[in-house]
């Protein structure tokens, strides 16, 4: 994301002009824009005009609107950010107070004006303008009969495709059926792979599976590439890694990110850090349950006793909440940081973030055990 102009006061009002460059940036914008802010962008609106002959003509006009945000929608699959709200800028075609939906697209600038730029928003902004390396992994996670294709970005994991077929067990006479069904399955996965994986954008591709499906697919991939002269695969042969997981379901994505050869590539990125932090939490929960807790109430209580060492929180909580709750969470985050703890803000679009969200969205690893938390009702 390119930040063109920023004039704001920390913890005060201000405006920022930005140009999103990739779908990840749209996600960051989604985190920034809240109800009550104003967004100004160039957009297209269908305008009804009275013609001289009396007929009404609908014309699509490009105009610059400023909208007071009422609701924000993020479409993950389509990578589109929609902002709905009332118009507040004087315009010849659109009255003040008329509803409009702005679509924030890539490579088009927009201006965000906020009344209150709190520390979190500033963090996000900082992250956005940081040209740090993005994770950008393409992962094919499969098991026999089921395959998922994921694109893991800096803060977003998108499921690009899901393929499921029924492959018959090898059965005495029908052994040929098994082979042909398997080949058809691999063919489908290959098509999806070619369509969605662009080696210019993606750093490497990982093929992960339980059992030996990954080796079979890898072999099939290379053979087909040779046969059909698919340059993109032949050139990037070295950038395809093989990882073993325990299943082909989405939650096994964690194991992919944990694998040593993948870890070396993405170790400084957000996704890897999140996975590690969550893994620590689960380890703590299984070894010493009194030193780990989850749920807003429990974490609050733990924090009051200055027990929180690592705070794990999803960005979901900030986004949807009203101003009061948001302020509360922001305070929690800053006070944990002040007392020397670490805070990990999980992107809820990643697998680990989804898992944390299932777990109420907020969890903490404590400095010392607090066994009486068990008795407090959640």
């Amino acid at each position: 994301m390119k930040v063109v102009r920023r004039n704001l006061v920390p913890d005060g009002p201000g405006s920022v002009k930005m140009i999103p460059e990739e779908s990840d940036d749209l996600w960051l914008a989604y985190n920034l824009v809240c109800e009550g802010d104003t967004v100004m962008a160039v957009t297209v609106r269908k305008v009804l005009r009275e013609m001289a002959s009396g007929g009404r003509d609908a014309e699509r006009v490009k105009l610059k609107l400023e909208i007071k945000v009422g609701a924000v929608d993020y479409d993950k699959e389509g990578s589109v950010l929609r902002i709905r709200g009332k118009n507040i800028l004087e315009n010849e075609y659109v009255k003040i107070g008329a509803f409009h939906t702005l679509e924030i697209e890539l490579h088009r600038p927009f201006v965000l004006r906020k009344d209150f730029w709190d520390s979190l928003a500033l963090d996000v902004l900082h992250q956005a303008s940081d040209p740090a390396a993005s994770a950008d992994l393409a992962v094919v996670l499969m098991q026999e009969g089921l395959a998922h294709l994921f694109l893991i970005g800096k803060s977003v994991t998108i499921t690009r495709s899901r393929i499921e077929t029924s492959i018959p067990r090898k059965h005495g006479p029908a052994i040929a059926g098994y082979e042909s069904a398997l080949n058809k399955f691999f063919e489908n996965v290959l098509q999806a792979f070619l369509k969605h994986v662009d080696f210019n954008v993606v750093r490497c591709a990982v093929i992960a599976s339980s059992g030996f499906t990954k080796d079979q697919f890898h072999r099939h991939l290379l053979l087909e590439a040779e046969r059909r002269q698919l340059r993109s695969i032949i050139e990037n042969k070295s950038r395809i890694l093989l990882v073993h997981t325990t299943s082909g379901y989405k939650h096994s994505l964690r194991e992919v990110l944990d694998a040593p050869n993948v870890m070396t590539l993405i170790k400084d990125t957000k996704a890897a850090q999140e996975v590690r932090a969550l893994k620590d939490f689960f380890d703590m929960l299984s070894n010493e349950p009194a030193r780990a807790c989850y749920g807003p109430k429990h974490v609050e209580v733990a924090h009051e006793r200055m027990a929180v060492q690592t705070l794990l929180i999803t960005d979901d909580l900030f986004r949807n909440a009203n101003v009061e709750t948001r302020k509360q969470y922001v305070n929690l985050v800053s006070s944990v940081k002040d007392s020397g703890g670490t805070v990990h803000i999980f992107s809820s679009m990643h697998v680990s973030g989804e898992q944390l969200a299932q777990l109420t969205g907020i969890a903490a690893i404590l400095r010392f055990p607090l066994p009486d938390l068990e008795d407090i009702e959640m």
């Binding site: 067990r169 059965h171 030996f212 989850y294 898992q355 299932q358």
Partner: protein, 632 residues
């Protein structure tokens, strides 16, 4: 240390509780009373033929119109005897059944009118003379008394049971007239004459035998060798396999190649999916389910072994290999034994293979027997249902004939493997319940045509020409033909492993993991379930939101734990804690899960095979359980 200490979780206690839960209070009414269901609809002195529904005179032994013999129905007094299946202090349902059969000739195992029917629509009661049933366990001990009264009041029995069957008939007819998809209560299901098996004929029972064990213990080789010795594989075929195997450099796998047929399996020298093979022993038609031993393929093993009635656990006796198998982190011996137990299999043959590598040493055998025996006992296997057989597959010792090698025969006096298989008890079959066939596989073969499914019939019976309902898609199809062991057959009953070819349905609607059922008694399809589970010892903590893999019969789906309702005490089954934060190893609890996609499911009390679930995560089985309630 005292010998009888429980070293692990006592499964029978856990599962026993499940049974008790459902048995509690339904058996309050006096036995011997004719059911309170409307009797007045039946004209006195007549019986209704189940095929043509014609009211015949009492005196007629067969129907006037269709010449079918009168229903030989009676209620097995085991109907309400839901003795906790793994509490072995009272006679098992198998024993009761076989004793019951011996006492009265015309008793069929069917017509199981379930007392514990949750709907409670037909509160029928077993008619065995004037008996008081105080509790499920107590009734088991009263059985000898039952038998004598039963034989004496045979006539009484028949007339009463016939009136009972007529009641059921009427109810089921009425229900059938209403919209087709409404599930009538299973108690109203009337098995047709051809379905109730002709056990007296002398035809052999089918026995589904699962072969499990740690990787490379010799399971496929054992199965292959057994098939060869029994005569299923001709010498010529064997030669062919040997030659091919040697060519590939896998000479020692020649016997395993009988079962591992795909190129991938042969190349790697492992079994990846369950292979099915048939052979006949003296007493049974044995269906061999050779399972994979690899950690990664446990889901396939679950899908295959769900059909099993008994199991052979193969152990590698060579030094180091046994220990590796018993290791809880990497070894599959324990995991397989636990899974087998939770399938409800209570008879297990432990085949200690590769004895030639340890020179047939008795000490080694005893050591293995002691260590493994301890573990199996803690799983819930009874000592009397465990058989220990030392053998060596490559030297052909103790397989189909008594040991010839001096070193083995000097100290071993027990049965050989084939004998042991014959000595297993026949399993009890639910022939009289509505049809249920969980689809294991969808296959296309020449003799079967386009759409064919295979699986083991869990309940009811099947014949060509019948209409069946394919769930979860909900489509109707007709059975074109049945095939068992590559030979077509006319009818198949519960317990048979068959391939069914279907007509009138698109191949895309049928998937492995679905269920074929009777059109009037559809099986429930749900995503939100309540389960009672027992976490295993290697389990990681389960929290709300934990993502697991859900296995039930042949279906596997991704699932999420949404609520942990309560923790249960393993001994008593009482709730010890409400809404705990997480579940750790070896705990019994009630949880709710939401599945990614809908799955065909039945409550455990309705149907055992469709109510057993397994939860796996990160490559390990973390919990086994049963479905207590289908929420949505």
């Amino acid at each position: 240390m005292p010998r009888k200490v429980n070293y692990g979780v006592d499964y029978d206690e856990v599962y026993g509780d499940y049974e008790d839960y459902f048995d509690d209070s339904d058996i309050e009414s006096d036995a011997g009373e004719v059911p309170e269901v409307e009797q007045d609809l039946i004209k006195p002195g007549t019986w209704r033929c189940s095929i043509c529904t014609y009211d015949n005179d009492e005196s007629m032994p067969f129907c006037d119109i269709c010449e079918v013999f009168r229903e030989p129905s009676s209620i097995c007094n085991n109907g309400n005897n839901r003795t906790a299946p793994f509490k072995f202090d009272c006679p098992s349902p198998d024993d009761l059944v076989s004793r019951g059969k011996q006492s009265s000739k015309a008793v069929s195992k069917g017509a199981l009118v379930s007392i514990t029917e949750k709907n409670g629509s037909v509160r029928t009661v077993p008619i065995t003379g004037r008996q008081e049933y105080s509790s499920p366990l107590a009734s088991g001990r009263q059985l000898p008394a039952n038998e004598t009264t039963r034989t004496s009041s045979e006539d009484n029995l028949h007339s009463l049971t016939n009136s009972l069957s007529m009641n059921l008939e009427v109810n089921s007819e009425r229900s059938r007239n209403v919209t087709t998809r409404r599930a009538a209560s299973p108690a109203q299901y009337k098995p047709e004459a051809w379905m109730l098996s002709d056990n007296e004929e002398g035809s052999k029972n089918q026995l589904n035998l699962a072969i499990v064990g740690h990787v490379d213990s010799g399971k496929s080789t054992l199965s292959g060798k057994l098939l060869h010795l029994v005569g299923r594989i001709s010498q010529k075929e064997m030669h062919k396999y040997e030659k091919e195997a040697k060519l590939k450099g896998k000479g020692s796998f020649a016997y395993a190649w009988v079962l591992d047929e795909s190129a991938e399996e042969r190349e790697r020298g492992i079994t990846m999916t369950v292979a099915v093979a048939y052979f006949d022993s003296k007493k049974y038609h044995v269906v061999v389910l050779d399972s994979p031993g690899h950690k990664d393929f446990v889901p396939n093993m679950i899908s295959g072994a769900t059909q099993a009635d008994a199991a052979i656990l193969v152990i590698d006796a060579s030094t180091g290999a046994f220990e590796a198998g018993m290791d809880s982190n990497g070894g599959q011996t324990k995991e397989h034994a636990q899974l087998i137990r939770s399938f409800g299999v209570d008879q297990i043959i432990v085949a200690v293979n590769k004895m030639d590598a340890v020179e047939y040493s008795k000490e080694r055998f005893e050591l293995i027997k002691q260590q493994l025996g301890m573990f199996l006992r803690s799983c819930g296997f009874k000592d009397s249902s465990m058989l220990w057989i030392p053998l060596s597959t490559i030297e052909n010792q103790n397989l189909v004939a008594a040991a010839s090698d001096g070193r083995l025969s000097s100290w071993y006096r027990g049965p050989y493997l084939l004998d042991a298989i014959d000595s297993l008890h026949p399993p009890v079959r639910d022939v009289s319940k509505p049809l249920l066939l969980p689809i294991c596989d969808v296959i296309k073969s020449h003799s079967l045509g386009q759409v064919a499914v295979s699986g083991k019939l869990e309940a009811g019976a099947l014949r060509s020409g019948l209409k069946v309902l394919v769930m979860p898609s909900g489509e109707l199809a007709t059975v074109r033909s049945l095939e068992r062991d590559s030979q077509s057959c006319t009818a198949a009953r519960a317990g048979d492993n068959v391939a069914v070819s279907l007509q009138g349905i698109d191949g895309g609607n049928v998937m492995a993991g679905g269920v074929l059922c009777h059109p009037d008694f559809p099986v429930a399809v749900a995503t939100h379930l309540e389960l009672k589970v027992l976490t295993l010892e290697a389990a990681m903590p389960i929290l709300i939101g934990s993502q697991v893999e859900f296995h039930v019969h042949h279906a596997k789906k991704a699932a999420r734990v949404v609520r942990i309702l309560s923790l249960l005490d393993q001994k008593t089954g009482k709730v010890t804690k409400r809404a705990p934060r997480c579940l750790t190893a070896k705990q019994s609890a009630v949880i709710e899960v939401v599945l990614g996609e809908a799955v065909c499911i039945r409550e455990f009390s309705d149907c055992r095979a469709l109510g057993r679930v397994f939860l796996r995560a990160s490559g390990r089985t973390i919990a086994v359980g049963i479905v207590t309630r289908i929420i949505e």
